[in-house]
Point group: C2
Chain length 120, copies 2
Amino acid sequence: MRIKKQKDICEVKSVDKSRVKAIKKIMLSDRDVNGLSETFSVLADPTRIKIIYALSKEELCVCNVASILGISISAVSHQLRILRNMRLVKFRKEAKRVYYSLDDRHINRLFDQGLKHVRE
Amino acid sequence: MRIKKQKDICEVKSVDKSRVKAIKKIMLSDRDVNGLSETFSVLADPTRIKIIYALSKEELCVCNVASILGISISAVSHQLRILRNMRLVKFRKEAKRVYYSLDDRHINRLFDQGLKHVRE
DNA sequence: TTGACATTTGTTCAATTGCTCAAATATAAT
DNA sequence: ATTATATTTGAGCAATTGAACAAATGTCAA
């Protein structure tokens, strides 16, 4: 095979300059892009999906979530921390238990839209 | 610190059995869970988000996408393959160029819902 | 206090992922 | 055929991530 040095960066002459410029101008802000990718990342994990779904039905303690999903309490707690950091769930402590519930109406809508998509 | 063997699995007696059972019964199917996590995974990457956004505005060739995002053609092509596999984009060849466009109305809606969420 | 239960947290490890580079393929022009 | 342009693909690598396990914290009851 011949050796070719490839620039791998789009040559100016081969680019439709005005088209590229126009779209660059209306491109999403870094803030939007990061927000979107963070949001979708949280929803991109099977365990978290199940947790969110369960909590969308009812407030539950960590132990019950673990029971419902059939995974360890530790694993649930780790995932709940992620959801907490993203402010998707809120919690209240009652004696030894900690009860979690959904804390973001938007997420429910995103979730439902996603379900509609996969079930279409 | 005391050594305790911890089962890390919810003790039956501490679980609200009927509550757990009820939610287990209406839990999402594996199919739904996998579909959701795959769908959200595709949307969870900044590069793919930008590509999807750009393509939502206009049909574009690989080279122009690379130019708009300011990343290598190879990187774009790799990501486009993922979007192709998920059937989120379609393409048509014209001479040496390959033009991509969005091929899923649902994704646009999911995307917009996501934007609404992060901008709230 | 001691012990049991509920949850959280830190560490380690394996798997996944996105990128780069090099190479291959495809198409058209010389 | 050779060259140039456009895109795809495969390998290798660094960074991220989810799960498992151990240990720590917190709360209540005996």
